[in-house]
Every structure is written in C-alpha cells, then in structure tokens.
Amino acid sequence: MEIVNKVHEHNLVAWAKDRPKVLVLSGDLTGSTEISLFKQTYPDRFVSMGMAEQNMLSWAGGLAREGFIPFLHTFAVFLYRRPLDQLQMSICYPNLPVRLVGFLPGISTPGGVTHQAIEDLSVLRGVPNLTILEVGDATDVESILDITEDIPGPVYIRMLRGQIPRLFPQSERLQLNRARVLSAGSDITLLSTGLCTEEAMRVTGILNARGVSISHLHITTLKPFTDPTVLSALAKAKHGVITMENHNIIGGLGTCAAEMMAEAGIGKPLLRVGIKDTYCQGASFPYLMRKHELDALGLVSAVEKLLDTKLDISEADLADVRIEEAASLSTEQLEAL
C-alpha cells in the first residue's frame, strides 16, 4: 500500500495558487495543521489568529461576507466545542463560505480528552446550512478542496495529516454525497468513514474468503446524508448493517444510517462500531483503536455478533498492518499539540 506524506500541505498550496480569494487562518497550530508551506508560499494570504477561536470564527465570517474564502486550520475539537455559538451565528446562519479544516478527529490524537473530537458529528449534524465531510485516504485529501468549491455555504472537514495511505486510485476523485463502493456483497452492508475504512479493508477480504459476502461503502459526506447508493446498499443487506467510525456511536455515521433505515422502513439489525459513549484517555492511536474496538478485530467481533457465529480470525490473519508505523507521529507534529 502506498503511503503519502503531508498530502494536504502540498495540495493546498497547489490548489490555492490561482484562487486569490482563498485565505488561510491559523489558530496557532501552523506546523500541526500542515499550513507552513502555505504561509511560506503566500505570506499575504496567511492570517495568524493566535489562540482565540471564538474571535477567529467570527473574524472568518466577516472575511467571507466580503468575498474571501477563509480556510480555518486548527484541531477539529477547537472548531466546534469552544466556539459553537460563533460557528452558528457568525458563519452558519448567514450561510457563508467558510471552510473549517479540523485535524485529528476522534481518537487519532495522542492529546487526550481535551483534544479528541469524538462528538463533533453529533453536535454539528444539527447545525443547519453546514456541510460535513470526512476524508479517509490520500486521494480523498487531494480532491476534497475541489468539492468545497461547489458548496456555497460553510463546510466542516474531518481532515487527516502526516502519513496517509492511498486506498483509492488517484484518478477516482471524491464526489460530494456519493459513497465509494469498495466491495459488493449480500450478507452484510458495512459503512465506514475516515481512518476506519483502512481498518475495515483489512478485514473484508478475509471475510469474503470465509464465505461472508460484504457490501462495503466508504462514506465521505456525513451531511447531507441522502446518497441513493447508500440507501440501496442498506436495503439489500440480508443479515444486517454495520457502521464503523472514529466517533461516538451516538450522533455520527451510525445514527445517519439508523435514520435512513428507519425512514425507508428497512427493518434490519444495525451494529454501530465506534466509541461507546465514553470519553477517552491520552494514548497512542493503535492502543485506543484496540481498547475501544474500532480496529479490524473490532469489526470482526461485530460481524460475528451479527451472524451469530465464530469466524476464527486472528490478528495474524489480517492484511496490511500499517497502523503502528504510520501512527508514530513525526517529532515536529508531536511538539505542537
């Protein structure tokens, strides 16, 4: 599997070249959110806002009202917890084209509870006018800025940094509100988002070999959640549906699926793999993934539960173990938590 480094850092600079209205606002996390190269390349379009997120969000609203397109860069958690009122009244109510680029979603941070955006989707899905996206690989990251161009209102992105796998061919660009169909099958429909898609892909091959037929869809648009491809896959699941996300099981992908299934009258069991409505501690990503069962083995357990059978799949059976190496964050990024 190809691993790509600092995808957003380079993509943003190339993408912004002929887009003079694009400004980048930093919340004192320039190195940590991959905007050092932007700052160096376009110093006049880089705005340092310091550690003052409420002001940064309202300020961005003002810039957007005047025709600029501000891209706010900080950790995901600092874009919605502290400044939720500003996000709503200064940006979302007037439906302004502010781009909220949130890094280290869920437990993908060693920063502990204060840095873990585990309920951002629960909070933000209820905010009108806001589009919510999440990337899962290098191709997603490379194409997500293009997606934002057609969205007149605000966009919140659960972004990835550092070393990112390329799971999807570079030519197959991300499409708004359209899932990537990774495997077709009839027993179980599996929806996954973000980093969980890579974990899920480690499992789906071997499940197939064991005779479990899985329809696996990678979801990048969490709001709106109206993709007919997803609805059709949910309807076809013989035994049930599994969702897998780096987020609380309340309010995120699992809830999106539940709502869609209930509204369409799809009466199948739904198993939600995710953080089980608990805060988490500061620790490494692999450790937390295992502890909270968001990893490949967690998915195996969910499949066993849904099918009421034992599959005898061990860690050794799983393909492409990348997570330990990739999660060892570079010193530069660890310095600025």
């Binding site: 705005v47 409420q54 309202s58 300020w59 810039l63 005047e66 500003q86 009244m89 439906n95 009108p128």
Partner: protein, 308 residues
Amino acid sequence: MTKTHSWEQEVEAIADIIRRRVLDLTIEKQGCYLSQALSSADILATLYAKVLQLGPSEGSNIPPKFPGVPGQSGADYGFGAAYNGPQGDGYDRLLISPAHYAVAIYATLIAVGRMSPESLSQFNTDGSTLEMIGAEHSPGFELTTGSFGQALSQAGGIAMARKLRGEKGRVFVFMSDGELEEGQTWEAIQALAFHKIDNVVVCVDVNGQQVDGLTKDVMNIEPIDARIESFGGTAVKVDGHNVGEIETAINNTPHENGPLFVLAYTNTSQGIPLLDERKPHLHYVRFKNDAEEATFKQFLTDWEREAS
C-alpha cells in the same frame, strides 16, 4: 427649524425624535427596550446625521416581510444593511452589535428619512423583519448579533478584507458596555491591534446598566479606557449626550495602529426624567398601571407640542 440652527442642534432634534418615537411605541405596545433608545439616541443620531459617509438607502420605504433564512430559502445574508446604502470603496459601514437596541435603530432610520414612519407599527409583529431583537434581515442590521460580543470580531474580518482590497471607508461598530464582559470582545481587540486594523471605529454606549442592574454591581468593567488601551486600542471618553464631543472624538482622535473606541457615557433616562425612580431596573420598560401609562402619555403629548 430654520437654517440658522447649528448641525449640533439638528442632530439633537433627530435624537429627540428617536426618543419620542420609542416612547410612543412603548405606550402602544405596552412595553419596549426604551432605556436603550434614550441612552443611545445622541450617538446614533450623530453617526447617521453627521459622521457616517453613506449613500442613499437601498431598502424599501416599507420594510419587506421576513423572506426566509439564508441558505435554504435563497434569501441573502446581511440585507438589512440596504438601509445604509451601497457598500464599497469610500463608503462607511455601520455594524450593530447589541441587537436588543433594534427599536432604537429602526427609530433612527425613520428619524433620518431612511424608512417610513408607519413602518414602526410592524415592530415585533409576526412575519415582520422589524424583530424585537434584530438580526441581519432587519432594517439597519448587517449582522446577526443577538448573542453578544460577536460583531467586533466580524468587523475585524470585514475591515481586514477592505484593507486587503485597498478600499477606503471606515467600519463603525455600535456596541453596548455590557458586551465588554464577554471574553470574545477582548480577543477581538487583541486581534484588531495585532493586525493594525485602523479602519475600525467602535462607539460604545456606556449606560452602566444591564439586565440584573447597574453594571458596576453585576460585573465591573471599569476602567474601560485603560483596559482597551492595554490591549492595544485607542480609547477616548466623551459625554454621550454631547453630540459635538462625540463627533470630535470620532473624527479627530488619531489611531494609526489599531481601532478607535469612543466611550460615550450616557444616561438611561435621558429625556424622560420620569424614569429616574425606576433605576436601575430599566432593561425593559413596561408601565405598571393605567395611571402610570397616562402620565407617560401626557409627558409625550407635552414633549411633542414643545418640539413642534
């Protein structure tokens, strides 16, 4: 009024029209944000009639009904600002921060001829844009600022954008003193100074009153001028009922490297001494009984006769 009157007298006359209109509405509606209009009338009249460089109103003389929220209904953001005329190079902007002052803003637009007098009967009626607590669809409003302390940061973004475009014209923010209690206000002042945003002028109605009582008893914010100066802004204190002082402070105070704050110290019963006995409970004025209402009606009648 004859041509021999000074501009100060003309602005003061406008301020009194604002006060009388809001008192009239308070009687008609059986309650209103009256004290805010009384304290801020001279500031608003000075801004609209003397200081602001505005083009003619682009709003309709009778305000439109609420057209829907931005985004889903196709309504645009910030269109209440049409009453302040065109935006662009050379024009000033006025951003209203304390949305509870809406009635004072509507009355000011009427007093300076930017909206028809009969518009005020729509105030706080269902489906009207003349909401009790205004938002960006309300006449005179460009932002949605009923949650306090957010306008100054947005003004920073707007003013920065205008500087990036090389545009002339100032960005005025009308604020209330209670908003100085919000942490975001200080984040904004810090950022305005850091980015050397010198095209922002903030006029603060320091009326010393908030919902629970006098500001000094609820949460002290003094010394306001020293606090602002220590954050990198320029602050000047004026008598908020002396229109000459307000105008001089706005136009003649140097502030090359950051925002200017004109701290206008005001009285919440200015023009209506009958309200003195209610102080400090003047956040929302409602008459207690028929007799009291009759007293205020008579006061208004006498005041109108005197003015004409």
